[in-house]
Symmetry: C2
Subunit: 228 residues, 2 copies
DNA sequence: CTCTGCTATAACGTATACATTAAATTTCAC
DNA sequence: GTGAAATTTAATGTATACGTTATAGCAGAG
């Protein structure tokens, strides 16, 4: 089924479709950082009027993906090393609490099946050297963790900042060393959750994100990638 | 100078004014929880057309203050005890990290002056039994702390959830015991920051928010305030 | 009296119109 | 040739128009 047909059947509004399409183009680097696009042009490119475009842009602006400037259209916000640090600091706080909370809830192995599946996919992807697949599984792992933890506000906020650095993560994916430690972290985190050890789960995740923060900000600086 | 005139001079858009006014009415309980207001009615009440109202509502919806339902207008979102817990969990993570970060930066006493001023105001307010003044100083303290910490994303997120529970905090303010412990916490937190002891500052703030969470959720449940 | 189906109303989603104003361009004086 | 002022252009902010569709009210059958 095509996306357009599905939208028709589900009565998805034009605003929603516009929002999703612009977001897709930003995260997929079709609209690269610092690119400026006028409302008119967006409307024309997407085949809608300015109204849905404007409403979509407000959402994207709130999510920190674009900035809307009075007469210069939207601008795709780039990520600097400092931004990377700030985002990972937020993730460190929120996700480690999510892990702690999930562990304290003592979920069954059945409930954790999708999470374990994501870890296995990551390990397979790394063995076969498929970095894109690894990144997809990694994202899935972190999304699942937030979802399972059960604090919707916490989850939404973590996902918002996570989306902000998606592009930058994709770029660093191929200049960073292979994420072996990362896989070990995920495996250990699942173990701690299964053991119901909240403090341990939180600490593993905190260290996991802390390492990632140091690595990524270091990489961005070393390669002079100040605006990703 | 009147607000309207100031807006004129500063060229504040109608969307901004509309947004601020609706938010003010929600936080001030002029629009109480669960109230439904149609776009048309809002536009009429605020003396603007539906366009700025719609754009303001999108922002308010993203901030979790209202829900926009297709043909029933906006609905002011109420806060349940579970919501309170979720919000305070987020605050516990983010604000304690802000405190830690600020302490690690070893700010001068001069830089902390506004923060110290807020603590003193809280103490004065409590002595004279002025709860509203106490609440205002308390809010100011937490806003300043977030601002001084220097992670804008972290600050914005904490403030967003803080606004979500503003109404509920105002209600509980008069049924809770006097916030003496709270004042001690703030004083101790400033001390830890001045000492440059990040771990201590984080732990004090974590404990502070944890106590508040337990107290407030307990109060809401005991008084059967399931939808504030 | 109750339930079903029709009709009418009205709220919304989207497109468009229009006035405003910032930016760009041109003109003109020097 | 250069700079300032005036003019033009065009992007936006806001209002309005219009078609769609959900909801409520009403009628009629059972």
């Amino acid at each position: 089924m095509t996306a357009a047909l599905q939208d028709k059947l589900q009565r998805v509004s034009l605003v929603d479709r516009t929002y999703r399409e612009i977001k897709r183009r930003i995260m997929g680097n079709v609209y690269p950082p610092n690119l400026r696009v006028l409302e008119q042009d967006l409307a024309h490119q997407l085949g809608v009027s300015r109204t849905p475009v404007r409403e979509a842009l407000i959402r994207l602006q709130n999510e920190g993906l674009v900035e809307v400037q009075p007469r210069r259209g939207m601008r795709v916000i780039p990520i600097s090393p400092d931004d990377m640090r700030d985002v990972y600091e937020v993730l460190m706080c929120l996700e480690s609490r999510a892990a702690e909370r999930l562990a304290e809830r003592r979920p069954s192995k059945t409930e954790l099946r999708p999470l374990i599946g994501a870890v296995e996919d990551m390990e397979r992807a790394l063995e076969s050297g498929d970095l894109d697949s690894w990144a997809e599984s990694d994202e899935r792992f972190h999304r699942l963790l937030l979802e399972l933890a059960g604090n919707s506000r916490l989850a939404a906020m973590a996902l918002t900042v996570f989306d902000q650095v998606h592009r930058a993560r994709m770029v660093t994916l191929r200049i960073r060393p292979l994420p072996r430690q990362s896989n070990r972290d995920h495996r250990a985190l699942v173990e701690a959750i299964l053991e119901g050890d909240g403090r341990k789960a939180a600490e593993i995740h905190r260290a996991h994100r802390h390492r990632a923060m140091l690595l990524l900000t270091e990489l961005l600086k070393r390669y002079n990638l100040s605006e990703l």
